[in-house]
């Protein structure tokens, strides 16, 4: 399975970036072999569309699953439309640690974006 991770650096021992769309690198890891590919996140400095762009690039690179920490609402819409599941890494995990944790079934699946879109506030009951 291919796992897309938003990362602070270009290799598998880099930290998972707390930012999703504005992380400097996108790393795609094969969860069976732990082989990986790192691409520069071209969306990181966009004034708008960073979230949708990063999601698209991760999907284009073949990600079946995405691991991040925070995923914004527009990026979330894209991942949902393309039926890509999203899991949350713990802060301070490296990309490798996050994928290992995912393989062991230890990562929590994310079911909603980090910040609700403006004007559509979620009400928690």
């Amino acid at each position: 399975m291919k796992i897309g991770v938003t990362a602070a650096g270009a290799n598998i021992d880099s930290l998972v970036d707390e930012r999703y769309a504005r992380a400097p690198y996108l790393i795609i890891v094969d969860s069976d072999t732990m082989e990986f590919k790192a691409v520069v996140n071209q969306n990181a400095n966009k004034t708008s569309g960073a979230g949708t762009g990063a999601s698209q690039d991760l999907i284009k690179e073949g990600s079946d699953v995405i691991i991040g920490i925070n995923v914004g609402p527009k990026a979330w819409d894209v991942l949902k439309e393309f039926e890509v599941k999203v899991y949350r890494a713990k802060k301070g995990m490296t990309v490798k640690e996050a994928v290992d944790a995912f393989n062991r079934g230890e990562l929590e699946e994310i079911h909603e974006p980090s910040e609700p879109p403006e004007g559509h506030e979620h009400h928690h009951h």
Binding site: K46, S48, G49, I59, G119
Partner: protein
């Protein structure tokens, strides 16, 4: 002839200058284009009777899925990631689209699957106003963040004849550039304060890059300091008119009464302002 009235800093009397200039020009026809689409306010002073309303907005892509082969060229062309293609799916985010047509341009020779449709983001209103001025303005719908494409659409309505006064949005960003571009002359409304001068310098820099001739109108000219006059001399930008602080002007303004109506002695000053600009523009054209 197109005269734009801009200001680096907001609240320095841009609309006051533009409205009173328009009211003091005898030549007809005269058009007033209020391009401050986030908060148009010239109508408060010029009191038009609107007789036409039209939607303005951004042209966004729609895809004919009987033609689309999901090649993804449109998505690659989009600078704003407003159109996404992957795994035989396509998504469009209208609110991210800047209406640049790049997606349609790349698709046309390939599958010609994209047509552009108007997403309304603003309303245009126009009609006859005081002193035979034809006023045209647009107001962004609530929550819409992009004034620049609306200003571009508004300006397409400027007729080839007569005199047009363009009331620019404040600031020095792309919306101001869109409003003042193609003008024959730009009036910069400012005030003699450190903030006023700071923002004026940015506006001057912007206009110089566009090769636009300009002059300064100083509002509340007897307040603040004298740095503006020094700057004007150093940079060789003429000060065309000085309007001192006057409580009567402020009171008239608060009631929506233009200066030239409340204090008729100002009409001659605005007539002279127009004549000096007209002379400058005509000289430049020879």
């Amino acid at each position: 002839m197109r005269i734009a009235v801009a200001s680096g800093k907001g609240g320095t009397g841009k609309t006051t200058v533009a409205v009173n200039l328009a009211l003091s020009i005898e030549k007809k026809p005269i058009y007033y284009f209020d391009c401050d689409v986030e908060e148009p306010n010239a109508h408060i002073f010029l009191k038009p009777e609107f007789n036409n309303t039209e939607p303005l907005g951004i042209m966004v892509p729609r895809v004919d899925f009987t033609r689309c082969d999901y090649c993804g060229m449109c998505a690659d062309a989009c600078e704003y990631s407003a159109i996404l293609v992957a795994r035989k799916k396509l998504m469009i985010f209208d609110e991210l689209c800047h209406g640049c047509y790049a997606c349609q341009i790349v698709c046309k020779p390939h599958k010609d699957a994209i047509t552009m449709v108007l997403r309304e983001t603003a309303k245009l209103e126009e009609g006859p106003a005081k002193s035979d001025i034809h006023l045209v303005h647009a107001k962004l719908n609530l929550g819409e963040p992009m004034p620049t494409p609306v200003i571009a659409q508004l300006k397409k309505r400027i007729p080839g004849e007569g005199i047009t006064i363009i009331d620019s949005p404040p600031g020095n960003s792309d919306s101001m550039v869109e409003a003042v571009i193609d003008s024959d002359f730009v009036i910069l409304a400012t005030e003699p304060t450190p903030f006023g001068l700071h923002d004026l310098k940015i506006a001057v820099d912007t206009l110089r890059r566009m090769n636009l001739p300009m002059g300064i109108v100083v509002n509340r000219s007897d307040l603040g300091d004298r740095e503006l006059w020094k700057y004007s001399e150093d940079e060789n930008i003429p000060i065309l008119l000085e309007i001192p602080f006057d409580r009567k002007i402020a009171e008239a303004y608060s009631k929506g009464v233009p200066v030239v109506e409340a204090l008729p002695q100002y009409r001659e000053k605005f007539v002279q302002l127009f004549e000096s600009i007209e002379e400058f523009v005509n000289k430049g054209m020879e």
